[in-house]
């Protein structure tokens, strides 16, 4: 057994000014990697990743084409933050793993990796309320298991490598179709170097009673994680997928750039829940989009608490009649953080409806941004969109921005967008203090109240977790 060295075991300063627990994942263990693509990005990096995964030639071709697209595309800094220019793609490690085959039981997982996930409480959660878990450690899943009862229903829950190798007839058809390689610079990067992530197929009519979960862990410094997830819910199927993520806080920045594609066929329902709690030096640049066919429903629940810069706009293409898309988004931006989040709703059939509710909290010098697109093209009728964005600013130097874009054609559709910016009312804090609460408790209550109607819609375990994360202790920061 390899010796385990704890590099940075103790949680960093609890940041008493803001008191939000963004440090739960701030530890790392030394791990010896059997596979390492080295530092920097080139065709060789891509070929290395493809060869250790023993991929079919078409996948390597797909990757190399994507790499070219990535080099060709400019940084989107004409609308996005200039902070993106601080990413040095040649200083990142693109592939690190101990092996390509995930273990089916926690006992088989190497101790150094297992210790990480135990500390994060993953095996415990799996026993309690999950139908299946995949735990990704840097580039590959270290553990992947699905409960027998779910597997017997024909549900497939594997990582991307396995999915493409063992079930090409199911996954190849949709892979890269919802989010084409050239969608944006970072989806192209992901397409070139992707590794890990979940491929899920739920057969017609199967309703997966408990959520499937993936946990993403970055352990190595200067590492880039590029998982790829594809979820297909066949006709009338239902599935809830949850993902969590953490990384230790290194002195240099880390990149996480995932691509997540969802396909909800006729009458299917997919709910995708993210609680993003990366360390605040992670660039989190993620492309997430789903296609909802006739009568299908896709719901993104997206909570962004960690990272240095998050740019993520979960989208739904409403392709079939009466399809429904929803994005519920909570973002919390602390000192040194920029949560640039939002939603994208593309209506492409009659009588489709979409709903976006975004709430953001900016603390200290944190900056939260809502960016949205609602598109209702020509000759559709009965399409409706509702968008609500509320921003809460805690300190005098907190910042929030709202940049929606709404395009409507024709007179048979309706959209409404509303946004507001406010602070925690002094009256409210005063009232609670007069009832014996401390200022910090009052503030915490007020902030939790602000997100309560959204948090209520989450599965219980997650809403409890979220409340804990947003347990504010803000002595003296009011006014």
């Amino acid at each position: 057994m390899k010796p385990i060295t704890e590099i940075d075991g103790a949680p960093a300063s609890a940041s008493p000014v803001v008191g939000i627990d963004q440090t739960a994942g701030n530890f790392s263990y030394k791990v010896d990697y059997a596979f390492d693509a080295g530092t920097g990005l080139s065709e060789d990096t891509v070929r290395y990743i493809s060869s250790v995964k023993k991929e079919a030639p078409w996948i390597l071709e797909f990757r190399l084409k994507a790499l070219k697209t990535f080099w060709d595309k400019p940084m989107p800094t004409h609308w996005a933050t200039k902070d993106l220019e601080n990413i040095d793609f040649q200083k990142i490690r693109y592939y690190l793993s101990q092996g390509q085959k995930p273990k089916r039981t926690w006992d088989e997982v190497p101790d150094d990796i297992k210790k990480t996930f135990e500390r994060l409480g993953i095996p415990e959660q799996e026993r309690k309320f999950l139908a299946g878990v995949e735990a990704q450690f840097d580039s590959e899943a270290a553990y992947s298991n699905i409960k027998d009862i779910v597997a017997k229903q024909g549900v497939i829950f594997v990582n991307s490598t396995e999915g493409l190798r063992e079930h090409p007839e199911i996954f190849k058809k949709f892979f890269g179709k919802v989010i084409p390689t050239g969608d944006n610079k970072f989806s192209a990067l992901n397409s070139a170097v992707f590794s890990g992530g979940s491929f899920i197929y739920v057969p017609p009519g199967v309703k997966v009673a408990q959520p499937l979960q993936a946990y993403f862990r970055i352990n190595a410094e200067n590492f880039g994680q590029f998982e790829r997830t594809l979820i297909i819910a066949d006709e009338g199927a239902e599935v809830v997928y949850m993902e969590g993520c953490t990384a230790p806080k290194f002195s240099t920045s880390t990149l996480h750039s995932a691509v997540v594609e969802l396909v909800a066929l006729k009458g299917a329902k997919i709910q995708y829940i993210t609680v993003q709690n990366w360390a605040n030096n992670v660039f989190n640049l993620v492309t997430k989009r789903g296609v909802a066919h006739e009568d299908a429903e896709i719901k993104w629940i997206d909570c962004n608490i960690g990272s240095r810069l998050t740019m993520k706009y979960p989208g739904v293409v409403l392709k079939g009649e009466r399809a429904r898309g929803e994005v519920l988004s909570i973002a919390l931006a602390n000192d040194g953080q920029h949560q640039d989040t939002g939603a994208k709703m593309v209506h492409a059939a009659n009588n489709t409806t979409s709903n976006i509710i975004a709430k953001s909290i900016s603390v200290g010098q944190g900056r939260s941004t809502y960016r949205g697109v609602v598109h209702i093209p020509k000759h559709l009728k009965g399409c409706k969109n509702n968008t609500e964005c509320d921003a809460l600013l805690i300190n005098t130097n907190s910042r929030t921005d709202t940049y929606p874009a709404i395009s409507v054609r024709g007179d048979r559709n309706a959209t409404q967008h509303e946004a507001s910016v406010s602070k925690v009312s002094e009256d409210m804090i005063f009232y609670m203090q007069s009832r014996g609460l401390t200022e910090a408790q009052a503030m915490s209550l007020a902030v939790n109240g602000f997100i309560n109607d959204l948090a209520r819609q989450f599965p219980m375990e997650y809403s409890v977790e979220l409340k804990r994360l947003i347990d504010l202790e803000m002595e003296g920061s009011v006014g």
Binding site: H78, W79, K378, H379, A391, L393, I394, N395, T396, N397, S398, R399, T400, D401, T402, Y403, P404, A405, I406, S407, V408, R409, G410, D411, R412, N413, A414, T415, Q416, H417, E418, A419, S420, V421, S422, K423
Partner: protein, 440 residues
């Protein structure tokens, strides 16, 4: 100057260095500082590229419609071609400029001139009141994407109107300025500069029209509104250029302490019209109200970009842009409220309402906020929908025929803005422009 000819024709279009030289020759008598600024502006215009697809400030805009080719400088016209019937409501004074020439004026009453009020052409103001004009004329930066076209406006600005109201003076009736473009291919660069000193009060109405059968024209106009401490400025602009015209209008408003600035823009004419409005609330108590009505017909495109910057505490602003869309018309509204870090107690509102009256119309809304202070009240909203079926049903149930019912409801939609005009004659003349447009 020789180097300027090297700029490719595609970015300067008809406005080549030779044409600029011809324009300068016409205004040689104006002060040297102004001519220097014009030369610098021409260099900027020629050096800047045309908008590109990736420019955020031009998102959704039809860039191919922005070609500057095929236009010519306004030629002198026969005074008789313009009749006084073109004038609308009587007021405290009127100027009628046709192809930049003053062709008719109803001067200010003596009671105003004695108090020091100035109402004259921009050329005369540059000659006689250079010190009053210089600090305010095109003094604000261009922040909404049209730096190139603002430079073009400054370079070729030939004439316009200048209104100066000294401190504590109230001009109770509106001042009217008519900008008239005659002749096919004419390029017009109208400008209105309003300077209201401390506690002054004034209402100015700008009318923009083309001669009948004018065909394609190019209009690149601007207005600067300066409201000193405690001043109240009301500004109305009625844009009714020919339906083939490419139009730009640039507004810059500066609101000092305890001011009230109300601007109302009515957009009816042009093939493609871009309007940029930039309001700066510079001192506590400043209040700016930005209202606009657009009736978009046929294949017209109205592209409205606004920026309201709150630079001081306790300022407020209210923006309401209402668009009625018919046929294959297209509108773009892009607004941004910026609250600077120290501008606590800001109260800002921004709203864009699109009334869809056709199944082929297209409305784009980009309402934005950038807030850097926490003790603020900022909200915005954007809606797009057709006429409320219940309201329509109610009117019809009362015996009103569907066409009339629709007209009533559309007027109801506009009245929210029109109702802000205190002067009833101005209110009526705006309502009349809207009615005519609906008949057409």
């Amino acid at each position: 100057m020789a180097s300027l000819t090297s700029h490719s024709a595609t970015t300067v279009g008809a406005f080549t260095a030779e044409v600029f030289a011809a324009h300068l020759a016409r205004v040689q008598h104006l002060p040297a500082w102004w001519l220097d600024r014009k030369r610098a502006a021409y260099d900027r215009f020629a050096a800047l590229p045309l908008p590109k697809r990736t420019d955020e400030g031009w998102r959704f805009s039809n860039l191919s419609g922005l070609s500057l080719a095929g236009y010519k400088l306004a030629e002198p016209i026969n005074h008789q071609q313009v009749t006084k019937q073109d004038l609308g409501a009587p007021g405290a004074g009127t100027l009628l400029l046709a192809n930049h020439q003053l062709v008719y004026a109803e001067p200010l009453a003596a009671k105003f001139t004695q108090q020091g009020v100035i109402f004259t052409t921009l050329q005369e103001a540059l000659l006689k009141h250079s010190d009053l004009v210089r600090p305010h004329l095109l003094a604000q930066p261009s922040k909404l994407g049209s730096a190139k076209f603002v430079a073009l406006h400054e370079a070729f600005l030939e004439n316009g109107a200048f209104i100066y109201v000294p401190r504590n003076v109230t001009v109770d009736l509106p001042l009217g300025v008519f900008h008239y473009a005659s002749g096919t291919g004419t390029a017009l660069f109208p400008h209105t500069l309003v300077v209201a000193e401390e506690n002054a009060k004034v209402t100015v109405a700008d009318f923009f029209r083309s001669s009948t059968g004018a065909g394609a024209q190019f209009a690149c106009g601007g207005n600067d509104l300066y409201a000193g401490h405690g001043a109240q400025v009301t500004y109305l602009a009625m844009q009714d250029w020919s339906r083939e015209t490419l139009s730009f209008q640039f507004n810059a408003t500066v609101a000092r302490r305890d001011t009230r600035v109300l601007s109302i823009n009515l957009h009816a004419g042009a093939r493609q019209a871009r309007h940029e409005s930039f309001s700066q609330l510079q001192a506590p108590g400043a209040h700016s109200e930005m209202l606009a009505l657009t009736i978009a017909h046929g294949t017209q495109e109205f592209d409205q970009r606004t920026l309201q910057i709150h630079q001081a505490p306790n300022t407020s602003s209210n923006l309401l842009y209402k668009n009625a869309l018919l046929d294959q018309a297209k509108t773009i509204f892009s607004g941004l409220i910026v609250v600077d870090p120290d501008a606590q107690k800001t109260d800002a509102y921004q709203s864009n309402r699109n009334l869809m009256l056709s199944d082929e119309a297209e409305a784009n809304s980009l309402p934005g906020l950038e807030i850097q202070a926490n003790d603020v009240r900022c909200t915005h909203g954007a809606t797009s929908a057709r006429i409320d079926a219940e309201q329509e049903f109610y009117l019809e149930s009362r015996g009103i025929n569907p066409t009339q019912a629709q007209e009533l409801l559309v007027f109801g939609f506009f009245e929210e803005v029109l109702g802000k005009i205190e002067n009833s004659q101005l209110h009526d003349s705006l309502a009349e422009i809207i009615r005519e447009k609906f008949k057409a």
